[in-house]
Point group: C2
Chain length 557, copies 2
Amino acid sequence: MNNYKLRFVPLGGVVGVTKNMYLYELYKDDRLTDILIVDCGIGFPQEKELGVDFIIPDISYLADKKDKIRGVILTHGHEDHISALPYHYRDLGSPQVLTSKLTSAFIENKFKEFKLNIRLSQIDYDKEYRLGAFSVSFIRLTHSIPDTMHLFIKTPVGNIYHGPDFKLDLTPPFGSPPDFKKIVEAGSQGILCLLSDCLGAEREGLTLSENAIGQTFEDEMRKTKGKFIMTTFSSNISRIRQCVEAAIKFNRKIVFLGRSMKENTRMASEIGYLPIPHNFLIEDKEVPKSPANKICIIAAGSQGQYDSALSKMANNKNQFIKLVSGDKVVFSSDPIPGNETEIYALIEQLSLIGVEVIYPDIQEQLHASGHGSQEDLKFLVRFTNPRYIIPIGGTVRHQQRYQKLTSDLGYQKDKVLMLAEGETVVFVKNNAYKDKTVETKNIYVDAYGVGDVGNVVLRDRKTLASDGMVVALVIVNNQGQLISRPRLISRGFVFEKEESDLYQKAVRAMEKSLKQKGQSQAVNLNNLKKEVIKNLEDIFYQEKGRKPLVVVEAIQI
Amino acid sequence: MNNYKLRFVPLGGVVGVTKNMYLYELYKDDRLTDILIVDCGIGFPQEKELGVDFIIPDISYLADKKDKIRGVILTHGHEDHISALPYHYRDLGSPQVLTSKLTSAFIENKFKEFKLNIRLSQIDYDKEYRLGAFSVSFIRLTHSIPDTMHLFIKTPVGNIYHGPDFKLDLTPPFGSPPDFKKIVEAGSQGILCLLSDCLGAEREGLTLSENAIGQTFEDEMRKTKGKFIMTTFSSNISRIRQCVEAAIKFNRKIVFLGRSMKENTRMASEIGYLPIPHNFLIEDKEVPKSPANKICIIAAGSQGQYDSALSKMANNKNQFIKLVSGDKVVFSSDPIPGNETEIYALIEQLSLIGVEVIYPDIQEQLHASGHGSQEDLKFLVRFTNPRYIIPIGGTVRHQQRYQKLTSDLGYQKDKVLMLAEGETVVFVKNNAYKDKTVETKNIYVDAYGVGDVGNVVLRDRKTLASDGMVVALVIVNNQGQLISRPRLISRGFVFEKEESDLYQKAVRAMEKSLKQKGQSQAVNLNNLKKEVIKNLEDIFYQEKGRKPLVVVEAIQI
């Protein structure tokens, strides 16, 4: 066995919470033989205000290795674990994909949108799957989405327990509780390394069961005289199901609003995960026909997103549904850090209309995290009893808190490996060490497509956001001589009218600079532009202490 | 298999919390073949103020069955699980006793005090033990005393998981965490019935780990300029060990005070469960020779018991140890219900001296319950996945709360059997029903011995406590005629001096009554006594509205 080596390569997910993508590479005699990929999700960048929709993992490291890829496993159906796959699927060599029932439905739908085929197998929990030299069994776990799994991966070097996003929910409102038997059995076969979710490592105790929320929905619905509106993540099928069940109990018709909400609930219904009696499901245009206290609206927009279904209602932009006093909006989700401003603005707007708004700050048991707290995390360690541990799915502070927890469980610091993105770990028999780092970069996706939002664009957007932009139009002849006076257009820099002196000065500087250049015959427009930019930047900085984005458009006639 | 029947008989422990003693009876063709006894502990009666020290289970039901007893298993070393065994051992036919290491040390010591031999085997966790038709394996659990076990009992009718007092402590300061592997493996073999501790069923979440207390001891010790005194249950070896470890860290010599504390810590030390460097252990008489800040006293008396080691110090009755301002007393135990008055009086007394007193009301993490809270209890159900459940070790309200918990886990009410003492359950293949009740009574033990404190004595003590006593001395001749004037002696009724009118009246009434009786020849002294008692009771009730205990001593000369 000594000629085998296992290398763990996180292409994402280790410090950024989202954008989960992990590689397990097996080497025999230092030759790469097999790669197993776990998850391929999108990430949510800090720079979201700059027009970036999301980021996807950088798989350029895999470019010359795709013949070694034995399969992709998706652990659950959240965006940050599955949604990058359609972008990369062909570049990965269109490998087989294995996942659970709900995740299958979600990923199939995504591939359909991309007009792509996928080689997809829905796994059987009772089977063990051979993927190259890897042997994988799937373990039922609980999270904020049904059909969440952990993986028990046997390799020639040792056994890996891959334990992403989970909590130990003993009373899931839908689906089975965690399969403790399989977890512990995996543990009893000897675990070389546990990879564990660590996002909840700062919270004491055990995470609240998802089923605590169902009672809250009933209690709130009972007290609501008008329309009942619930908003949460559209992937949280269990949560939505509990709201649906309460609505049926109180004889309220159900309306799904928002594209993702409609899509996800439709898919969940199709596979039997969200049963709704036929006459209970209505469209928004039917709402005005029913009494307000017979309506339950389940809407996307819990993060205060601009133009979300909820936001539209709050701003009276829904053609059919008008919110009024007596209606109640329940936010059954915690703010994702960074979204607080938008969420509170939305709550403010709803309150203004006279709608009663219930959100986790003012009412407990409205949202249960999908991630295990300290005790959930400790249980997993005790169950699996690993030799090494790698915390995944959290930021550095979560990793550090997790390390402290495991030290209470008796783990030395050198047994708990905290990784940055691209930082790899090599396992040999009974041993592990950090190996060289794989270079990765963020690939930004915005409305225009993949990857065309480079770092330069982002830097520009940042500059625009802070210092504005100045565009200089320069028209020159073949000799680079100015044909007309340069023009300056600015936005977000200084108010042009009030600063005409500055602009005059800038124009004069350009004229001067260009006249000097105009003497040579073959003018290099690019050099000319650079010259002008430098010139203008200097003037603006000297005069205003600011560095607007300066763009020079030189036209040669 | 259909000719087998298993009957569960709780001789104690099901509603009274303490006095744990359970029988498993196996019948073949309705003939009793084997009995397994689990635990044999003492109980703490409500009537403790009446001079009763404790109660023991009533084993008269077993009188004609002792040849069927295949063994006694003690699940852990607490008094309410082991301490009645010496009283009953010979009446049970001196059966073999199986238990863990620390419990062995404790029970052996008890038998020594009783000058009794015991057939004792210390169990091996890796073995399965055949006891008649039962096959028992032992599972490591955690509680407030090391070496606590659960039992997996295979019977011809089905498998029983016997799960008394426990919490799921992932970080026990001493010993192993619960053996999740064995628990879950037991579950995967199919459990007909789980018997589960239910005392913590009212508390949300998971119970605090015992190891949280160690840090608190260190923090408190660091801040203490004078002597550090800790009091807890003397059986809580883990707690004591944490205090000892903190003392060693702060270079404080350790003094154990109180008979039970000295005994238990000596036994624990002998088997290696409480290592103390030799020069760290001193006697109380050596305390005055050391600086106060180099002393750590671990004393019995956490329940405010009269004449306990702590109480004696508080009342300046310890010859060598004087408590002064700057000393600190830490109560690392919650009050057992009913003891609050004594405890707060003791805290008051200590505070008066100027000692700083720290107790759970004012400081968290001073005491961790030994019993699992709601989540611990739910985990055990999920791990074992039983068909039936019997909550044990709690009162009726704990049983009911436990039933609610299990209903959240999907258990119908008819699957959770709540038993009163003596109420039995019969198991046949895949089925269970309540069977006829075994009559039991409380057997009271006080300083004078076993069982001589009957219900009459208790009723008298209650009367004495509330209304006092009057003794009438009557001396009569053979004809029942009064030879001298009757005398009345009273205590706790009315003050004799101030109420001489009343006594005169009572004496006259006796004289009158006895003169009437004096006419018959052969006087019946018993009837005479009853007559006088009735007479006096009537007078006292009419005049004072009270019913003292009236005792007539009639002497015939």
